[in-house]
Symmetry: C2
Subunit: 453 residues, 2 copies
Amino acid sequence: MSTPEQEIDEVHERLAQLAAAGDVQALHEAVAEMHPSDLADLVESLEDEHQVLVLSALPAELASETLAEMEEGDERADLLASLDPSKGAELIQELADDDAVDLVAELEPDERRRLLEALPVEEAGDIRELLLYDEETAGGLMTTELVSVQVSLTAAEALDRVRILGREVEDFYSVFVVDAQHHLLGTVRLDDLVTADPEDVVESLVEPPTATVLPEMDQEEVGRLISRYNLASIPVVNETGVLLGRITFDDVIDVIEAEQTEDIFRLAGVGGDEEAVRYTWYESVRARLPWLFINLLTATLNASVVYFFRGTIVSKVILASVMGIVAGMGGNAGTQALAVTVRGIALARGTGRKHGLVVGRELMVGLVQGLVLGTLVSVVAFLVDGADPRLGLVVFLAMSGNQIIASFVGSFVPAVLDRLGFDPAVASSVFVTACTDLCGFLLLLGLATSILT
Amino acid sequence: MSTPEQEIDEVHERLAQLAAAGDVQALHEAVAEMHPSDLADLVESLEDEHQVLVLSALPAELASETLAEMEEGDERADLLASLDPSKGAELIQELADDDAVDLVAELEPDERRRLLEALPVEEAGDIRELLLYDEETAGGLMTTELVSVQVSLTAAEALDRVRILGREVEDFYSVFVVDAQHHLLGTVRLDDLVTADPEDVVESLVEPPTATVLPEMDQEEVGRLISRYNLASIPVVNETGVLLGRITFDDVIDVIEAEQTEDIFRLAGVGGDEEAVRYTWYESVRARLPWLFINLLTATLNASVVYFFRGTIVSKVILASVMGIVAGMGGNAGTQALAVTVRGIALARGTGRKHGLVVGRELMVGLVQGLVLGTLVSVVAFLVDGADPRLGLVVFLAMSGNQIIASFVGSFVPAVLDRLGFDPAVASSVFVTACTDLCGFLLLLGLATSILT
């Protein structure tokens, strides 16, 4: 059974000791059997100078995979930069080009130049070309390393080619079939090649591709296609259909996880991406404070509404108490509607399913919740305050009105954002809460002012 | 280029017409070239009786895949149940057993019995066995259909076996190697088999498995292993190492998406799972209202704190205004801390990375944000109110104090929940907001009462 945590805890101390002692041979032996993903975690937990030592001691293939499996970001880039340039170039050469590009992209410009100069011209050119694609597009995810065969080959010739290429390309999953101009025609199953008559031409075995993507396609879209059609890899082609590369499911799992983080952070009104979970306090403040300033503006607006009605509050102080309930319950209902709507949009995307009618449903939900909660709270308010039944009426109207507004804002705003091409999660719970606070205060205090005083 | 939405819009109307006209032959031709995932969306958008018609008209293989690709849930189960039992059994037989089990599990008990009775005894037995595993475990995800070879075979014999089995098992990705007692020994690469000397024994080619899972393992854990080690499939073994089945990456992508929905819904204080995005208004109210009742209790508690201090508010009514800012900004900061902490725990899980020290960082963040926001708001409050500098002091202390509390609650509570084995996302933003409201009111009004009056 694999329990990486335990293994890592055990090995970690030993490795740190060996690194401290500079015992390269023993280091080498200690990690030879480890998976690069586990080794990456170990290396990350070491001191900076030990990281360099361990990575330099490893065989190039293992060292490069380890680097590729480390968390993306500055730490990894610093480690690569502090290696001997020729060692760095050696590691980069070992990697699949999509991983190599990710690493090179993280380097400072001058370090990047130095490393690319240490690479063979052709390899450096390939990497420079891939660096031109936006990181968050299909082009930024793809590797150009793939197994392809000409459609005119015989099954026997194709199988020979697959054997040769397959040794170099890790996890190739699909054998792509192309014409003489390298246009993608489809795929051929490896077992079809094996079982076919050796003299059959590939053309008779080719299956059309389930889906293809352009290099400019957003990575989220790529993830949806892979997930929708259960593909282990998806080919990337240009406008004329020339095969440029392929994207594999493992990169897509990483994308899905990153997009998930982005959604959660946006809903919570936090700046920053996946790396934000490892920010220092200083970086955290820098990322979050701008959002809090915006919130402060809306909070101040809401406060001035309350201040405007201060006369009403003084004359009926229970309102100061109830206004928190009306605003708060609105915020909660709005956050619920928002989460369900944003998630519904995300899940429906890329399918033929219409995500219609949620605003209608949410309004109905708001109405019912408003009636239930409004009745409850107005009865309590009436009982506490005694005497004036009009207070109960005001509370009931404000409470149910704000529930309806909350449902509307929580479902309508993200739906509109989505139609306009924005991420619906930008309608964060913070924004929704600001709306329901404002409407709650206005409703309760406005109604109270006109009915009670 | 694939743009499923457009295609589906175009085909949808045609299909509905054909179904209405009962033109089976034309229906058949219209969908013959479609991917089951696209067809599933189409079928879902049809009327119930048309769904049955279309599915009955399709060739069994396509119909079964379409059913498997439809959204899990009642609609799909009803469709399967309304097919002719022998047709239903035929479709189930066509499916990989993990998909078959998912479908059968959704049926009502008596429909399930009827369908299982219509299946061949052996097939029904397999499904009954898989039904015993919890849906959210490795056993619930796995298929028993895989390609395995005996370790004692020669490469040529193994290749023959792979050719035969590979025809039956879709997307087998890995060739598993077992001993005579069916204990898993590892995997063998298909290209190694092809290129090996035909007389070599498989034993010389076997590679140990990167990771294995027990059938009881939680599906989230399985997802993490697949994602961590970039595996297209992972073998499931029992305690003695006997190979039971395998789980493929596409099932895991579905799991990751479902867990993501769960996290977002929990953070937002919504009951229900992925299906909640398709609830009717009635189901939505039923799922959400219980959460709102809990919120109502905390909101009422907070309101009574305000009510307790009503004398202070009447004598210094600007406090009614400021208390919303103090509480609200605390809620926002707490939600930020919560999102970052919950996501950090999720991302660190299954790795050797420690998710320590975030509470320390968050407290520092809270302190700095508190000083900045506290200064700002206290200056504004002082300017609006004029005269009493002690008001500025009270606001400053309450504001910065509540920011620190928000940071603490937002990071400490999920961390503790995680240690205790609960989902940290249960510490929803709703709970955090309730805490920061309470503390904000207590701090501001308490300090005001003792300092200002």
